[in-house]
């Protein structure tokens, strides 16, 4: 297959077909549909408990035209290991992909993920990150960002929204030194396509982390799903990079950092946030921004925050950006 770089290079043969039950404007469906287009027919899919299994695989039908298996929530790294071992022994080359949510990856599935990454299993692990346990009705996960409302981080009289920052799953995966790990955005098409293609072509443990805006969970307008993903990158809430054989590389650098409020204001889950909390989130973002993109260019929104630039980002040692 020739190397894909743009939308026009993508195969038009849908392996994740219409008729699924996702909410209108579901970011996860956008990601899965395109990942499956690129992975193609020679793919075996494992989906743990998640929105995806519910919307795509309800007996007696499925939206996946490929082989499909579901069993439980926390075992994506393990079941895919077993499938791949069997297929290798049977002489099949099929890409074995696990399509897990952030809850199934950051939280309950972290152990099996770590096991598979450490053993360098020949599987593709995709984390579809909608920043919460959305299937069960919008509960907080380790991926939920600071300040966000969820049903388990309600906006109360005493405490408003989530008080912890998002867990850095990419750094955790990178610490296992896998052949390939990358973060993707559904709004950055060519970057998305190249990374899925690269992950497909490599051997060993591969990890793709996709931000997938969730209309009911983020309380956003269904038409804004892709725009919100774009703004996540432009504000630094999401960073596009890849870690290949131990080297981290930024794959897309925004021209200038937009204030985080540009991102927050489109989502009802942040509507309650007060200035102090927004400033705290912005400060955290500035530290992350300089880690990823360097500090030669002073970002006006960060210059206002004295500490931002000098704050030590917690995973500097693990991510060796080049």
């Amino acid at each position: 297959m020739s190397e894909m770089g743009t939308i026009k290079d993508m195969p038009a043969n849908d392996m994740f077909v219409s008729g699924h039950g996702a909410c209108p404007g579901c970011g996860m469906a956008v990601a899965v549909k395109n990942i499956m287009r690129i992975l193609g027919a020679d793919t075996t899919v494992y989906v743990p408990a998640s929105c995806l299994v519910v919307i795509s695989a309800m007996y007696p039908t499925s939206s996946f035209r490929t082989p499909f298996l579901f069993t439980a929530f926390e075992n994506t790294g393990a079941v895919t290991t077993g499938i791949r071992a069997a297929q290798r022994r049977r002489g099949l080359r099929s890409t074995v992909v696990g399509l897990a949510g952030d809850g199934g990856t950051f939280d309950i599935g972290l152990q099996a993920l770590s096991g598979a990454a450490e053993r360098n299993e020949d599987i593709l692990y995709v984390c579809l990150d909608n920043e919460g346990f959305m299937n069960t009705g919008i509960q907080r996960s380790g991926a939920t960002p600071f300040g966000a409302w969820t049903t388990t981080t309600p906006v109360g009289k005493k405490v408003e929204g989530k008080r912890e920052f998002k867990k850095d799953i990419m750094a955790i995966v990178a610490a296992h030194d896998p052949p390939y790990a990358a973060s993707l955005s559904i709004a950055h098409y060519n970057d998305f396509i190249k990374k899925v293609e690269k992950a497909k072509s490599k051997q060993g443990f591969r990890f793709l982390h996709v931000l997938t805006p969730c209309v009911p969970g983020w309380r956003s307008d269904s038409s804004m799903t892709v725009e919100i993903a774009r703004l996540a990158v432009e504000t630094g809430m999401w960073t596009l990079y890849e870690v290949e054989d131990g080297n981290a590389r930024t794959t897309y650098k925004p021209k200038a950092m937009l204030p985080v409020t540009d991102y927050l204001k489109l989502q009802g889950r942040f509507r309650h946030m007060e200035d102090a909390d927004i400033a705290q989130l912005q400060e955290w973002l500035c530290a992350k921004w300089y880690l990823h993109y360097g500090d030669e260019i002073e970002q006006p929104v960060c210059a206002m925050l004295e500490k931002g630039k000098r704050m030590r980002y917690p995973h500097e040692e693990q991510l060796h950006f080049v």
Partner: protein, 391 residues
């Protein structure tokens, strides 16, 4: 065939090797470790062509086994106690997906007041999972039952996972004389694994999506029937094994000197051997004692038990585990099986937490059953070897 002096764990490992297991996911737990260590050695020495996958937990080990089995290869794993409990969630996926995984469970006590010693409460807690369960008496049976487990599990009429249960330390770490069959003999007995449903992009299958209420009940009844029908195949496999290797075990249950017995004890696991000696002793005293050896807890031999119990005035049931305030799980099952026959059923709890079941305990049990057979009132359930009077 070769004769070896090996532990129960190693006997199981030899069986898994002779079965040409292809994927062995494993996580260590005492007293199961000798099984997976030996298999790792076989694989690293090139004696077994299989993938040894060191899982991050028993939950993952069973998940890997599920992936491998659904991927179309023969999968074997082994565990014990807390490990089995951690697998609990995944155990339930296997029978309904009809994946013929074979697993050894080295029985060990579960939960607090924890120890590493034998008790059956770990595997008894999984008896409603849909797994077939066989309990073995000695190391030879451990090897033979494991080999038969593959044949049984993979039979197209069965397609169910099988758990081979062996008593921790009493078998796992005890060496005995064991006849290890040759590879060619085993190959004749156990054909190559032909999976029924495979995850293969050449012929895409949707396996285990979410199942709404319109379908799940029919699936569950189908599984119930499959577990029940496995009884016939168990008898057939046992007979076939006997023909091939000269040893057979009676299928679901076996008996010892039961023909004209007035009273008997029902045992499973290693306690059976001691009970045989007790029966001999009582017979030498002119007492009509007998023994039923329960091999399979699932499928449970409801019908077979009713037939065997005919003519028995009383049947005692030994449990090496407790179903709190109800005696032991085997007792309640046997009592249910015999609810419409006149035989009196008594429960006997012994050997809890690895406490040795001594010959005196065994004599005490038979004595109680004998009294019940004479029409005396005895406790429904008695704990043997307990310090302090029972309430």
């Amino acid at each position: 065939m070769s004769v070896k002096v090996i532990s129960g764990d190693h006997a199981v490992a030899y069986a898994a090797k002779l079965a040409r297991t292809e994927v062995v996911p494993a996580f260590p737990i005492t007293p199961q470790t000798l099984i997976v260590e030996r298999l790792a050695e076989f694989i690293n020495d090139g004696e077994l062509d299989a993938d040894f996958i060191p899982a991050d937990s028993e939950h993952s080990a069973m998940s890997i086994a599920i992936g491998a089995s659904a991927g179309g290869v023969r999968a074997f794993t082994a565990t014990s106690s807390q490990g089995l409990a951690l697998m609990h969630e995944m155990l339930y996926a296997v029978p309904q997906c009809r994946l013929p995984i074979v697993m050894a469970n080295v029985n060990r006590s579960l939960g607090a007041a924890a120890g590493i010693w034998v008790e059956h409460n770990d595997s008894m807690a999984e008896r409603d999972s849909g797994w077939l369960q066989v309990y073995v008496e000695d190391n030879q049976e451990a090897l033979d039952a494991t080999l038969m487990a593959f044949r049984l599990a993979e039979d197209r009429r069965v397609l169910l996972p099988v758990m081979v249960c062996l008593d921790g330390f009493i078998l796992s770490h005890t060496v005995e004389r064991v006849e290890v069959p040759g590879q060619e003999e085993v190959d004749r007995f156990l054909p190559r694994f032909e999976p029924c449903t495979v995850l293969d992009p050449a012929e895409p299958k949707l396996i285990n999506p979410i199942v709404p209420p319109e379908y799940a009940m029919e699936m569950r009844y189908q599984l119930d029937r499959a577990v029940d029908r496995s009884r016939e195949v168990i008898a057939e496999v046992d007979a076939g094994f006997g023909k091939a290797f000269g040893r057979s075990y009676g299928g679901l249950l076996d008996t010892y000197r039961l023909e004209d017995a007035d009273f008997a004890l029902l045992t499973l696991g290693t306690a059976t051997g001691l009970a045989r000696a007790a029966v001999d002793e009582l017979r030498s005293e002119g007492k009509r004692a007998g023994l039923i050896k329960l091999r399979f807890m699932r499928p449970f031999p409801f019908q077979g038990l009713r037939e065997k119990a005919e003519g028995l005035k009383a049947l005692g049931v030994l449990d090496r585990s407790v179903s709190f305030n109800g005696g032991g799980p085997v007792y309640t099952e046997v009592a249910a099986a015999l609810c419409n026959v006149p035989t009196i059923v008594t429960g006997h709890v012994a050997g809890i937490g690895g406490r040795d079941i001594a010959p005196d305990h065994m004599r005490e049990m038979f004595a109680l059953v004998e009294r019940a057979a004479r029409g005396e009132r005895v406790r429904p359930v008695t704990w043997h070897g307990l310090r302090g009077e029972m309430e």
